[in-house]
């Protein structure tokens, strides 16, 4: 923490005015007054509503589908099925298979959709669609799916489209191999050193099989889209998406028109966390709108989100670690089995790789398998795959600390991965902040006040965990313009998911030396804005922020040139302060930006600049969490009483936003550890499809969250910034489960630790409710 504070002071002393300050979000007032418009808030005259018919079978052949009665129903304008999809669609892509074709592969899979004048008409019409199924053997459990005699549920050997996953990070993906038969859709293998020798050298070996559940991203806003075609065959889609250029390209494939004929207008987005990269409703709305010849709105219900969405994967992870008496780790063996559901899109490679990305262990062997089952297919959820593997790794490391009676932070400091060390795929690391995060937690008053004292019959325990994430950095551009009144306009194409627009305003204000109020950030649609990557992989500030900074530098240069000409001084002699350029040698010579704008218009034309950047190396972010819990041994209830997380963000362009990101991620980690699990019955039917029994943490369940910002600069990011959004979700879940293990004095092998599982771990009887 001391390092960080010193580094920070130096930077502020180095002259930053706007970046590094906790500016209020520029969308704050629209958000608190209800003025921000989200996906479902858009409507058009003559608009139709949608209802979806979903599969009631986990695996079946559709033998008959008759839509004639539905089409004849009052108010119905269109009924769409797989007949309306392109023939050459990729059979391995969930998103391209908007409707099930010959086979349904999971309960909840869309089979048909109706567009009608009212929601009630559409709902009634859906019930009139006649559908016959021939049930087929289904596979629900991923380990059973890997057995040689398991029914094979794959109906296609089409290559797997990983483009969406690579948005979050492409680290590790080169090593992935697709398989062509059976239910294992891909596998990955990493190894270094001599595993047997490493274990032979060890004084102690810990091992376990760690299971994580299916979780739903549970953005509060359900997927929503409004699609309209014009007479010339151009499509406009308003939608809640994390990446408007990405979804534009995906929609274009499905409606089979050039992407330039599709305009996506990204609305305010009510959370995404990876779950709004794909088009759960956009493609459907576009297809129905073309068929109906009228605008179509498609909004799904919460029950359809939980029972028909794209959640985060369950996994079964085996971890075995060998270490010397002093805690030095000598060998690591890991095997990841990730349940991808009915379509291959699980973040299995990165989950496998991350097992070897936290500690520098000379001998390791890591194997990963992505397995198809007849359940909802998965997609990204904030640092996809990482909470699963870090839970497994850190549970084993926690057990190692208990066995060796070593301080958990000391054990981690002894083995931490450092600059110059290599990840399992051979990538050497630049500067990272793992050590600083461990020290920041160790030195924090919340950690210093930790306790193991029982209270009113409740058992108390505390623990820590570490995690990291590579992130992405796609190509991006930004357009900056000097307005005639001297203010600055910034045009970007990146969705404002996490407060990034406020960060862009700060960056532009910094570079152009104007107050933040003089910067206008505009999110253009896909026809207007320069390209931007999706708001995923924690990359928007890192990638688009770099483009804004470069554009800002260029616009500043142009402004200075015009001013220098007017003032008859050299550009180098000019200093910009609060929107005024002043000569350093002659204080009488000054000109404000509005006059510069006017002069430019009269001379060479309005001043505009574009900042652009290519794909950059990733800027990994590490985080360390501390948790303290009270466990009721009678009921199995876990109370989270303290939660602390330190994260290296390189440089916090907006510390308030960064704190909010850390706190939000930490509480999502609590969901992983204790409260959240999407349950399936033996037939693969999701059974808890409402927030009543799919339990998000509430304000009453959650303690104050202490967020510590650690800043180890990254050389590529703006002002040293690195990725921010994702790492915070990674270690808290593992820290909490480790704290539960410490409290109950038993190893914990499952997330979430529901009351039933706590009682089972304690060897207590569990009631009928389990």
């Amino acid at each position: 923490m001391v390092d960080t504070a010193v580094a920070r002071d130096a930077k502020i002393a180095g002259g930053h005015r706007s970046v590094g300050s906790p500016a209020a979000r520029i969308d704050g007032i629209p958000n608190v007054t209800g003025a921000s418009l989200f996906g479902a808030d858009y409507s058009l005259p003559g608009m139709l509503w949608t209802k979806i018919l979903r599969s009631s079978h986990a695996h079946a052949r559709i033998t008959r589908i008759d839509i004639s009665k539905a089409r004849a129903h009052r108010g119905v304008r269109a009924v769409a099925t797989a007949e309306d999809l392109p023939q050459d669609r990729d059979a391995a892509s969930r998103m391209q298979n908007v409707f099930a074709g010959e086979f349904v592969l999971f309960v909840g899979q869309p089979v048909a959709a109706v567009a009608a004048v009212t929601e009630a008409d559409a709902e009634e019409a859906v019930d009139l669609i006649e559908l016959d199924y021939e049930p087929l053997p289904a596979v629900i459990d991923p380990l059973e799916a890997m057995e040689p005699d398991a029914p094979v549920i794959r109906h296609s050997a089409d290559p797997i489209d990983r483009s969406e996953q690579r948005i979050h990070t492409d680290v590790g993906s080169e090593s992935e191999e697709e398989t062509e038969d059976g239910n294992v859709s891909s596998e990955v293998h990493f190894a270094r050193g001599d595993l047997e020798a490493g274990f032979a050298e060890a004084d102690v070996i810990v091992e376990g099989r760690y299971r994580s559940a299916v979780l739903h991203q549970s953005y509060l806003e359900p997927h929503a889209a409004l699609a309209a075609w014009d007479a010339a065959g151009n499509l406009t889609v308003w939608c809640s998406t994390q990446g408007q250029f990405h979804i534009r390209d995906e929609i274009a494939k499905i409606v089979d028109v050039p992407a330039t004929q599709v305009k996506v207008i990204g609305t305010s987005i009510g959370g995404g966390f990876g779950g709004k990269l794909g088009g759960l409703v956009t493609h459907m709305a576009a297809i129905l709108a073309r068929k109906a010849g009228a605008p179509v709105k498609t909004v799904i219900r919460r029950s359809e989100e939980l029972g028909g969405g794209t959640p985060a994967p369950a996994s079964v992870i085996d971890v075995k670690i060998g270490a010397k008496h002093d805690g030095v780790m000598t060998a690591l063996e890991g095997r990841v089995v990730m349940d991808t559901g009915a379509f291959p899109e699980a973040p299995m490679s990165i989950a496998t790789l991350l097992l070897g990305a936290i500690y520098d262990i000379p001998n390791f062997k890591l194997d990963g398998y992505e397995v198809l089952t007849n359940k909802l297919s998965v997609t990204a959820y904030r640092a996809p795959g990482a909470p699963n593997s870090i839970f497994a790794l850190e549970a084993a490391v926690g057990e190692l600390a208990r066995r060796l009676e070593l301080d958990p932070i000391g054990l981690r400091l002894k083995n931490e991965i450092k600059e110059g060390d290599k990840w399992p795929d051979g990538e050497p690391l630049g500067p990272i902040g793992l050590r600083q995060c461990l020290e920041a937690v160790r030195d924090h008053p919340t950690y210093q006040s930790r306790s193991s004292e029982p209270e009113n019959g409740k058992l108390r325990g505390w623990s820590v965990a570490a995690g990291g994430w590579p992130g992405g950095s796609g190509p991006a551009a930004a357009a900056l313009h000097l307005n005639e009144d001297g203010s600055i306009r910034v045009l970007v194409g990146a969705i404002n998911l996490t407060g990034t627009s406020t960060g862009f305003a700060q960056i532009a204000a910094e570079e152009l030396r104007v107050p933040i109020e003089r910067v206008q950030v505009i999110l253009g649609d896909t026809d207007e804005a320069p390209p931007a990557p999706v708001s995923g992989g924690s990359q928007i500030t890192y990638a688009v922020g770099t483009a804004v900074k470069r554009g800002g530098e260029e616009l500043m240069r142009l402004i200075k040139n015009v001013a220098a000409e007017r003032l008859k001084v050299e550009p180098e002699d000019l200093e910009a302060i609060d929107g005024v350029l002043q000569s350093k040698s002659d204080g009488e010579k000054k000109i404000d930006y509005a006059l510069v704008a006017g002069a430019a218009i009269a001379a060479g034309g309005p001043l505009a600049a574009t900042g652009s950047k290519p794909r950059l190396p990733t800027a990994p972010g590490y985080a360390v969490a501390f948790a303290e819990v009270l466990v009721d041994p009678e009921t199995g209830q876990v109370d989270l009483v303290k939660l602390l997380e330190a994260q290296d963000v390189g440089f916090a362009i907006n510390p308030k936003s960064v704190e909010g990101q850390i706190q939000g991620g930490a509480v999502q980690g609590f969901g992983y550890a204790v409260t959240e699990e999407l349950l399936f019955d033996e037939e693969g039917r999701p059974i808890n499809t409402a927030f009543l029994d799919y339990r998000l943490p509430t304000s009453y369940d959650t303690p104050d969250v202490d967020a510590v910002i650690v800043e180890v600069p990254n050389k590529h990011g703006p002002y040293g910034a690195r990725i921010v959004g994702e790492p915070s979700i990674i270690p808290p879940g593992a820290a909490i489960t480790n704290a539960i293990a410490a409290a109950i004095g038993k190893s914990v092998y499952d997330q979430p630790m529901t009351p039933e599982r706590v009682l089972q771990a304690l060897g207590r009887p569990v009631g009928d409710a389990s």
Binding site: A24, D27, V32, G34, L220, K656, Q668, F691, T698
Partner: protein
């Protein structure tokens, strides 16, 4: 078949014919265009659709429009007063208590009702009082701080529509 209702919403009187099954949420969003009130779950579990019905918070997804006949309804669009954000709204902006913003209208309305009921709540009372409103982004910490700020009377004074005639 439709039902005639008369309702005061954010101070304006509305008379309308609604379907008997229409929810108050649908009436506000679709008939009146007040889209600030959000539907997050439709089952009363998330609180995003919270509005004040005769001053008391209700889930508008669980209330029929016809049930609100004769009532006075306040939505997030009508909760600011005298040309300024109300203290809860202002504290949310200042504290960074709004991230994606989707749950925010429900929290604003619920927290306003909470402070109306308990002007000086403890942190526990705030956390309990807001437990029916789900937020996925913030981890609740900054929301709790914002409500504490509003309760303490320390909210900044932030004008609403500073360029309009009303302010």
């Amino acid at each position: 078949m439709s039902v005639s209702i008369s309702m005061t919403v954010n101070g304006w009187l509305h008379e309308a014919a609604v379907e008997p099954r229409a929810r108050l949420l649908d009436f506000l969003r679709e008939d009146l265009g007040l889209t600030g009130t959000k539907e997050g779950c439709g089952t009363g579990d998330c609180g995003s659709c919270t509005v004040l019905l005769d001053g008391k918070p209700v889930n508008s997804c669980l209330t029929l429009a016809a049930e609100a006949d004769g009532a006075s309804v306040t939505t997030v669009e009508g909760i600011a007063a005298d040309g300024y954000l109300n203290p809860v709204q202002a504290a949310f902006v200042d504290a960074g208590a709004t991230q994606c913003g989707f749950c925010t209208p429900g929290f604003i309305v619920m927290a306003t009702a909470l402070l109306d009921d308990i002007p000086n709540p403890t942190e526990e009372e705030i956390r309990y009082g807001l437990a029916g409103n789900l937020c996925r982004c913030t981890g609740y910490d900054k929301i709790i701080r914002a409500v504490q700020t509003a309760a303490a009377g320390d909210s900044p004074r932030i004008p609403l529509r500073p360029n309009s005639d009303a302010s």
